[in-house]
Every structure is written in structure tokens, then in C-alpha cells.
Amino acid sequence: MSLSYPKRIFLTALVMLFGLLMIMAALWLPPVDREVDVMDSLFVIDITDSMNVQDVSFANENINRLDWAKEYTRQAILSMPCGSHAGLAIFSEARSLILMTPVEVCANYHDLMQMLSQFQPTMAWARSSEVSKALYTAIRQAKEITPQPTVVFLTDGHEAPPVHETLFPKFTDTPGEVPGIIIGIGGSDLMPIPKTNESGEIDGYWEINEVMHRDVYASSRGDAAELNENRPRTEHLSSQKKSHMETVAKRIGFEFISSPKSPQNLIKEMQKISEMRQQPVKYDLFVWLASIALVLLLLVFLPYSLFSKQHD
């Protein structure tokens, strides 16, 4: 295809004018409103002693479960679109304690991280670890918060004192009313649980005779003999209690994710189960307009002669 000289010049002028128009639009077109799906979340982090076990890895480094939980929470918050809200809570004894109700994640990232870094086993107010009851209180308190957040509960599932399968604490709320996800942390091998002293340093390990190995209520019942019969005494050791967490999750209508690889696993699951809020954000079209202008001008200045010489 060949164009006459004046036509070529005319075409070039036309493309340039169009590019000019694009740049003017990029400069003066006001930003448009765009709806972005944002989520409200409440991260509950297990700070009980079993979380001190070093049996998880992050970036090829062996770290303890609590540090893993904190790092995972940080990355998850970082992956949320601006406008999303995240709150923080800790779990110890038999309840979740909310420390900050959900706040916007981008503007308050620094404060969220500051608070997260404070989470230490020393904050625990008692030395038991009743995961299921803590989940119930997290749900109850999430209901008092508006807009209601999705609960993300990070734990290894270790119940101390242990719970017998038939004597489960009653869940009185409607399952699934508050959406939530349990993130299972920890390896599959039984590991000794470090004890921490008042200043948070590891000070020995829980011994076999220092912990309860049977459900308190089960052992006081008539059928105790059957229960006591040759059960392994391993409650002083801890691993990720997957089947237990699955059972609990089913009971309260939560999802269960075991040792997720990336924060995207959590974000995707949250998008599936929680009610997303639409938040309008200002979106500047300048990138698109300027790109069009650039491409047009590149077309004008491409050295066609270099390619077409062979035809001459």
C-alpha cells in the first residue's frame, strides 16, 4: 500500500491532532466514579502457649506459629483493596478480646501493624486455651459491630483442657449468621509446648503431668472408665488439630483453611462467603488516555522506511 505524499502528511497531522485531544482529555477530564468491592474483617489471633511451637516456615525460615499468624495477617491486610476494614483481636483462655474494631486498612496500616506487633503470649490473661468457646465469643462480639465483619480466626486448634467429642460446648447462635474462616497453623507432628515466663521468654516445656489429658466433665461421669481406657496421654504436645477445627468450623458455619500458602487463598474465600460492600472510588482515566496518545505517536514515528526498503 502506498499513499501519495500529501495524503501521508494529512494522515500524520490527523493522528497528531487526535493524540493532542487525548492528552487534553488526560489533563482535564475529571476522575470517574468506580465501584470497588471492599470487605470488613476481624482478625482474631491465638496467643496461647501452644502458638510458641516452632514448626512452621515462612520464606524457608523456621518460625513459631504466632509469628506466622502475625505475618500472615499483615500480608492479608496488605492484599485488601483500599476501603476495606480490618479489626484486631486476641484469643486466650476461653474468649476473644477485641482490641480494635475494624478500621480502614490503607490509611491506618501503620497503626494496625503497630498493634499487631504488640501481640505476645504475655498478653494472655489466663493459661488455658479453649478454642471453640473463643470462637463463640468472637462471633457474638462481631455481631455488635456495624458493619458486621467476617471473622478470621488464626489458631492451631489446640484445646487445653481437652474437649471430649460428645461433650462439646453448646453453640447457641445460628451457624453461618456471622461468616468466618478458621486458618489452621502448625505442623502435623506432635511437638513439646514451650512455657513462657512473665517477660515472655521461653522457660522450659509443659510436662506430661502438668496438663489435663481428659475432658474435665467426661472424667467425672459414670462412663469414665470407658473414656480412660488406654487413651494416649499427649495433651502436653501440640500439632495442628485439623479434624477438630473442621468439626468446629462445620458447627458454626465457618470455612476452614489449613496452612494457606498465600494471603490470596484467604481473600478469595472471604470474597466468596462474606457480603461485600461497594465503595465508590475516584478513578483517573489519565493512564488510558495518555497510553493511547503514546501509541498513536509511536505509530507516526515508526521508521517504516527501514522495513519497506526491500520493496523498492
Binding site: 500529501p6 479489626g87 474468649r95 505517536l297
Partner: protein, 337 residues
């Protein structure tokens, strides 16, 4: 100046394209036939420079030039406040009432001392735009969960969270005060520093604890305010003539006299009711309006527009010359045929 997408700058060599392309020039038989004209040479050069500038400016605009978020200091009116809110179980109960013949076993969380404290703290924070707040959660242990921040959103969210759920175990005011003192350590002195203690009980401190606390408070230039939520009807922090002997030497009073003897500004407010609590907060609000150095966050500022302007001006000149050329060429062609 930083770039949001610095890798786009690798496209910058594309700006030499105008110097390589010859596709708008007329084909001529022999180069030497062209007359040498220095004015045209300059114009030709200028047009090439303009074209390069347009391309480079567009690429740089797309790479997202900006001044990153940064902080500047300005002076405001206010104080740095660390809130110490008692999270113990006794705070779940309502204020002590003078005449109550009813015995109620049902706890009303709406009227609990903790929820009242939450309500007025929220008002307090909202009424002080320039203050910087920190928050210490304490019962038997203390954790400075919110380090000093300018963000009203996080401060209010932490205060709100303090009103949720039930109380924890017992109270240990000494660890809480120590924590509050530690939170100021290593901070630059910016202006008035306040520790706002809200609790419903006292404590008998050991000599060692007393020493540590007075040291921390003095070293860090702290003022102490104690809003004492009365749990025993009628008992005041200062001794009154003709009062019950049982109140003498109560932990609350011992703590009060320890605070008074400290060499730091101290004031106690006694609140036995909602109204008194509100008044105490108002009094503190009026007390502390001093000059305070503030860090103000300046949001990130995009500089893309400047580059777009460069592209706009150079492309404008370029298109004008192109149209002029076109007009000239068409006229020449028309006259020939």
C-alpha cells in the same frame, strides 16, 4: 521525586524514533540537488526535538512521577494523651448508687462503668482535633496496644473495642502506669504529656513500685489525671470529718495520697455518676491547650500533569507545523496539476 512504575522508564529510548524515521519526507532524486538552507535545518531539528520531547514526556507521565507521602511538622494546640482504661471485671458493674433497695443479679452492660467511660472518652477524643493518643489495655497485665498516633479513626476504634465484651481479671495499676511511662520513652518531647487513668479501684503499692512509678513519671515529664469511678457509695478520696472508720486506709485513698506526694502535676476527679464523669472529662478538656508539635502527613502528590503539559505544548507545535506543511503541499500539488 519517585516513580510508581519505574520499569516504564525503560521505554524512554523510544524517544529517538523521530530521528530514525524519514517517512514523511518527499523522495528526491539526488540529495545534492537540495539547496542548503540553514533556517530549514534549524526548523527540522526543532521539530525532531519536539517529537522526542512529546514521546519522552508521555512515557514519563505514564511511569507515575510523584512526591511520596511525607510528614511535615506544624504546631498545634493540644497534648499527648495516654489512656489507661481499667479492663477488670468490676468495671462491668454500674456506678454505685446511693439509695438502691433492689438487688439485681442481672448486669446491665449498657450502664456499666466501662461503657460510660467509652462513651465519654469518644466525645473527648472527638473534641480535641490536634491531640495525639495512645492506649494501654490493662487488667493484671498491661500492653500498650496503641502507640501514640494522630489517627482519630484508630483511636476511636480502640476505645470502642474497649467497650465490647466482658471485663478480664483483676486490676494492677502499677504495671499500667509503668507501661504508660515506657510509651513516652524515646519519644521527642513535643508538648504536654498526659496520662489519663480511668479506674474504679485503688491499690496498695510496694515501696519499690512507688519508686519506679515516680521515676518514670518525672523522667518523662508526665501529668497524671485520675478519674476515679466510685464503687463505694459516699466514699471520697480525701478524708472527710465524721465519715465511716471503715474507709480509712482504703486502697483508693492510699493511691491518691501517693499520687499527691509525687512531684508531678496531678489531679483526681471523682465520678459517682454519669454527670460527674462528664464534668471531669470537660475539666480535663479545658486544662490542656498548650502548644504541641504535630506531625502532619502530606498525601502523595502526583506530578504526571507537569509531564502531560510538556507533551501537550510540544505536540501542539508539532501538529501546527504538520498542518502548515500539509496546506503548503496541497497548494503546490494543486497548482502543478
Amino acid at each position: 521525586m519517585s516513580w510508581s512504575y519505574p520499569y516504564l522508564l525503560y521505554l524512554l529510548p523510544l524517544a529517538v524514533l523521530p530521528w530514525l524515521s524519514r517517512n514523511t519526507e518527499k523522495q528526491i532524486v539526488w540529495q545534492a540537488l537540495l539547496p542548503r538552507d540553514s533556517v530549514s535545518a534549524v526548523i527540522g531539528l526543532t521539530l525532531h526535538v519536539l517529537a522526542s520531547a512529546t514521546l519522552a514526556a508521555l512515557i514519563m507521565a505514564l511511569a507515575g512521577p510523584h512526591i511520596p507521602e511525607h510528614t511535615v511538622q506544624r504546631s498545634g494546640q493540644g497534648a499527648e494523651v495516654i489512656v489507661l482504661l481499667d479492663r477488670s471485671r468490676s468495671m462491668d458493674q454500674p456506678f454505685a448508687r446511693r439509695h438502691s433497695f433492689r438487688l439485681s443479679t442481672k448486669m446491665n452492660f449498657k450502664e456499666s462503668k466501662r461503657s460510660v467511660a467509652r462513651y465519654y472518652l469518644t466525645e473527648f477524643v472527638n473534641s480535641r482535633p490536634d491531640d495525639r493518643f495512645g492506649y494501654v489495655l490493662f487488667s493484671e497485665q498491661a500492653a500498650g496496644i496503641l502507640s501514640l498516633t494522630y489517627s482519630k479513626e484508630t483511636t476511636l476504634a480502640t476505645i470502642e473495642a474497649g467497650g465490647l465484651g466482658r471485663g478480664l481479671s483483676k486490676t494492677d495499676i502499677s504495671v499500667a502506669l509503668k507501661k504508660a511511662g515506657e510509651m513516652f520513652e524515646g519519644e521527642v518531647y513535643r508538648g504536654a504529656r498526659i496520662v489519663l487513668l480511668i479506674s474504679d479501684g485503688g491499690q496498695i503499692l510496694s515501696t519499690e513500685q512507688e519508686q519506679q512509678i515516680s521515676q518514670l513519671l518525672r523522667d518523662n515529664n508526665l501529668s497524671l489525671y485520675w478519674i476515679y469511678l466510685r464503687s463505694v457509695t459516699g466514699m471520697t478520696l480525701d478524708e472527710m470529718p465524721g465519715e465511716s472508720i471503715l474507709w480509712q486506709g482504703a486502697p483508693e485513698r492510699q493511691l491518691h495520697s501517693f499520687f499527691k506526694d509525687l512531684n508531678v502535676p496531678y489531679r483526681a476527679f471523682e465520678a459517682g455518676s454519669l454527670e460527674e464523669f462528664a464534668e471531669a472529662m470537660k475539666a480535663i478538656d479545658q486544662q490542656h491547650y498548650q502548644t504541641l508539635l504535630l506531625d502532619v502527613k502530606m498525601p502523595r502528590e502526583s506530578l504526571a500533569d507537569y509531564f502531560l503539559w510538556v507533551a501537550l505544548v510540544s505536540l501542539l507545535l508539532l501538529s501546527a507545523s504538520q498542518i502548515y506543511t500539509w496546506l503548503g503541499v496541497t497548494r503546490a500539488y494543486r497548482s502543478k496539476h
